[in-house]
Symmetry: D4
Subunit: 161 residues, 8 copies
C-alpha cells in the first residue's frame, strides 16, 4: 500500500537530513525550571508573600508552575505571562515597561497574546542565548515579585559556580 | 542598584549551565519547511486542487504557510491543525483517526486545542526524532490532501539522498 | 468621607461574621501538590515516558505543574483538564469515560470548559472530601498516564502512613 | 484489578493527610452572598437605578447574581469583574483605579482575565482575611454603584452586630 | 451644531414610532427568577445535593444565579447553558437529548455557543410564550437536577394559583 | 410519568403569571432595523464610502446587517460594537469617547465585551426608552460614519412624522 | 525621508502588477445578498416561522443579516455558520451531514471554526464558481429552514431569467 | 425530490447573474505573496534579524507565512496582525500609529480583532486598489521590521518594471 511504502521513503528522508534541514535549539531543562520555581516561591514565602512562580521554555510553553497556599488564582495567569514575555523578548518585563514609558516600544505590543509589562519576568539565558523565562506574581508590588526571582537566580548561580 | 548587580550575577549563572540545566532539541529549519510547503501546494495544483500547506516546528508553531489562489480560507485553520497534531503525537493524523475508530484513543482527544483527525497531517522526523509536522487542506477529500504531502516528501527525499 | 467611615463599618461586619456567613473549605497544599507532581513525572520518566503532571486545588485552579524534557506542549493542556475534571466530579476520568460509554452520563458533558474523559485524572481526597485533582498526560496511552498517577499516590501513602 | 486495589490505597492516603498536606480556607457562604446581592439591588432600585449585583467566593467564582428588570445585559459582565477583581486583590476597585492613576500599579494589570478598575467592587472580609468579593454595575456612574454596595454592607453589618 | 439638531430630530422620530417599528416582548421578572432559583437550590439542598440554579431572560441573559456552599464551580457554566438552551429552543433540554438520540435533531446543534443537552434545563412560559429559562447543575445525575427544577416550579405554581 | 404531569403543572403556572412575574419590554422591529441599515449604507455609498451598517435590539443582539460591496470585513465587527455599545449605555458612542476623555468614565470600560468608543454608534429610542442601537463603520473617519447614521435617522423621521 | 520615497516606489510596483501577481475573484454583491436574505425571512414568516437569514461572501464574511421579530438570538450564530460552511465547501450543509453519516467526511470537520452540518446552508454560485453562501435558522426543523432558502433562490431565479 | 429539482433551478439562477449580482475583486496571488515574504525574511536575515513575514489577501486571510530559524513564536501573531491591519485600512501601520498619537484616530480602534499599530505593516496595492497586506515582526525595533518590508517591495518593483 502506498502509505506503507511511503513510510519507508520517509525514513530515508529523515536519515538524509543535514544541517540546513534541521536546526538545533537549547532550552531550559525541567530540573532547572523546578529549582528556580521552588526557590522563587520559597523566597517570597520567607518574606511573607504567597506567590505563583512559573518557568517557561524557549518557545514560551510551561515547564514548571508552583502556587503557594493562599496565593490567589489570578496570579497563575500573570506569572505565566511575565515568564512568556521575557522568553519572547529576551529581556526583563521591567525593561519592556521602561521602553513603553519612554516611547521606544508602542504600548500596543501588550495586545500580543501572553504578553505583559508587569514587573517580575526575566529571561533565562545560557550564555547570550535565551533558553526560557521565569515569572513571579502575587506579592503586593512588582518590585517584590522581582526580588523573589532574583533570589532564586542567585541561589542557582551559587550552586552552579 | 540591585538589578544591575544581578545582571552580572545572571551572566555568571548562564556560563555555568551544564547538561542537566539545558536540553538540546532539534527542529525543522525554515529552508526545509518552505521546500515542503512549496512542493505540497505545487503537487496539488498540478492535480487541479487549490490547497493550503503548513509546516510547524517541534513545538507546533508555524514555520511556513502557503495558500494557493482560490483555496478557501477555512483550509488555513485545518492545515495548521493537521500539522500541529502530527507534530504533537509523532504520527500521521490518519493513524489518529484509525485509533479513534478502533477505540484505542478516545474521540475526546479532539477537544485538545489545535488537534484534528482529518487526513493529511504527517510528522517530520530526523531519524526517529520528531522535529515538526506538515499538513495540507483544501483538496476534495483527505486522501487527496495526503497524496500532496507524500509527493512533497518524496521530492525532498530524492534531493537529499 | 463616606468611604473611610464605611471602611470602619466593614471591619465590624467582618468581626461579626458567624458560621452561617462563612464556609470553611479544605484544599490540597502546595507541599502535597508538588510531591505528587514530582513523583508522577519521575515514575513516567523511569518507564521511558516524558509527561506533564498537574495538580489543581479544590476549585480546579493549578497548584503545581511539571513538564519533563521532551514532553510535547499539548500535554500541558490535557494534564490540566484531567486534573480539573477529577476535582470537579470527585471521581477518576476513567469513570467518566465509562459512564459516558454506558449512557449514564451524556457525552456532551465534555463541552464543559476544562473537562476531558481521557484516562489519567484522579481526585485528591481528605477522607471523603475532594480537596483537589491530579492529571498526567504524554505517555503513549492513557493507562500508562494512569499508572504514573497511581505510583505517585502510593508513594505519598507510604510516606504518610 | 490494580485500580480497585489502588482505590483502597488512596482511601488510606486520605486518612493520613495532615496539616501540611491540607490547607483550610474560609469563603463567603451562599446565605451571605444572597443577602448582600439582594440588598445591593434593592438599594439601587430604591434610588431609581436598575443594576446587577454579583458576589464571588474566595477563588473568584460566582456565588450569587441578581439582575434587576431593565438592567442592560452588559452589566452582568462588569459586575462580575468588579467582584472578581476585589476578591483577587483584597481591596476595592476604586483603590486599583487610584493606584493606576498614581503610577503605583501599571495599567496593564487590567489585561488580566476578569479584571476591571471600574468603581463598585469590594472585597468581603472575615476579619483581615479576604473571603470573597461583591460588585455592582448599571447605575449611571461608578460612585452610584459603589453607594449600593455600601448600603448592602451596612445592612448586613446592622443585622450581624 | 448638527448633532444637537439631530438630537431633536431623533426625539421626534421616537415619538412617531408605531406598532410596525417597535415589538413588545415579555420576559421573566427578577422577582420570579429569584424565587425559582432560591426554591431550586433549597430543594436540592434538602435532598443532600449542592447545586447551582440559574434563571435567564427571554434573550438568554442571566437574571439570577445562586450557588450552594460546596457546589463545585463547573456547575456555574453548566446550569447557565441548561437555562440558556431551554430559553432558546422553548422546550426542556431532556427533549433535546431525546431528539438527538432519535436523529430528529443533529448532535452538532450542541456546537452552538451556550447550548447543552444535559438534563435539567426548562423553559419558563407565560401561557404559550417562552419568557426565559431555568437550569440546575451539581446533583449526581441529571434526573436529580431535574427534580429540583420541578419542585421549584411546583412551589411557584402553588403560590400563584 | 412525572415529567408529563409536571408539564400540566407548568402550564398552570404560566397562566397564573401576573405583572410581578413578567416584565414587558419594547424592542426595535426588523422592519425598522432593515429600513435604518439600508438607508445608512445608501447614504454612505452616495458619499463614496463603502460601509457596514448594523442594527441591534434592546439586548444588543443583531437585527439587521448590510455590508456594501468593497467594504472591508473588519468593519463588520466595529459596526456591531458601535450599535451594541449605544444600545447598552443609551447614548451615542461619541458621548462615551467624550466622557472617557474628560475622565468622567474610566477608559477601562472599553474592556467590556462588545464595547467601543469609536464614533458612529447611536441608541434607537421609543420616547425615552432605549429599544436598540445602530452603528456604521468603514468610512474614512468616524464623523463620516456618524453622518450616515444621522441621514438614515432623518429619513425614518420624515417617513414617520 | 525614506518612507515617502518608498511610497513612490510602491506606486510603481502597483502599476507593474500583471496577471501572475493579481488574482481576480467574483463575490456576491450586497444587492443580491439583501434580496436573498429578505426573501428567505419573508418566506419563513409566511409559513409562521421567525428566522434569521444570513448571506456571506466568497471569503465567508457577512454581507447581509436579517432577524425576524421573535427569532431567538441563538439563530444568529447558527445561520451564519450554515452560510459560512456552504461558502467554504461549495455544497449544501445537507450534503455535509450526509457525507458525515456515510463516513465519507469525518465528523471532526465540524471542529473547524464557523462550521456546522445543520440543514439550511447553501452555496451561492455564478455558473460553477462559488461566490458566497446563505443560511437560515430558527424554524422548528432544518428542512423548514431549507425550504425558505429554496423559496428565496427560486424568487431570485424568476426575477433574473 | 424537491432538492434535486431545486439544484437545477439554482444552476439557472447562477447563469443569469449579472453585474449587479456579482462583484469582481482583485487580490494578491500566492506567487507575489511568496515572493514578498521570502524577500522580506531574506533581507532581515542579511541584517542579522530572525523574523516572521506574513502576506494576507484582500480579505485579510493568510496567503504566505515564513518564519526564520530562531525567530520567536510571538512574532507569528504580530506579523499577521500588521499585515491584516494594513490590508483593512489601506495604509501603513506606521500611519495608524501616527493618527492615534495625533488624536485623529481613537486608540480604541486597536481593540478590533487582528489589529495593531506596531510598525512594519504595509498594504499591497494594484494601482490605487488595496489587494492585500504584508507584515514583518521579530527585528529589535519596528523601524527595522519596516526596512525589510521596503527591501522586499523594492525587489519586486525592480523585477516587475
Amino acid at each position: 500500500m502506498n502509505r506503507m511504502i511511503f513510510g519507508a521513503v520517509l525514513a530515508s528522508v529523515a536519515l538524509g537530513l543535514g544541517a540546513q534541514e534541521v536546526t538545533s535549539e537549547r532550552t531550559v531543562s525541567m530540573k532547572l525550571a523546578n529549582e528556580l520555581a521552588t526557590a522563587a516561591v520559597a523566597s517570597c514565602t520567607a518574606s511573607g508573600y504567597n506567590v505563583v512562580a512559573t518557568v517557561v521554555d524557549r518557545s514560551g510553553y510551561v515547564k514548571a508552575v508552583l502556587r503557594a497556599d493562599n496565593a490567589r488564582p489570578h496570579a497563575i495567569d500573570i506569572a505565566e505571562r511575565k515568564a512568556h514575555t521575557a522568553a519572547m523578548l529576551g529581556y526583563e518585563t521591567a525593561k519592556l515597561a521602561e521602553n513603553i514609558q519612554k516611547g521606544i516600544t508602542p504600548a500596543s505590543i501588550l495586545n500580543t497574546p501572553g504578553f505583559t509589562s508587569l514587573l517580575g519576568g526575566f529571561p533565562i539565558k545560557a550564555g547570550s542565548e535565551v533558553i526560557g523565562g521565569i515569572g513571579v506574581s502575587g506579592a503586593p508590588g512588582g518590585h517584590l515579585d522581582t526580588a523573589c526571582v532574583e533570589a532564586a537566580m542567585k541561589l542557582a548561580h551559587d550552586r552552579l559556580k
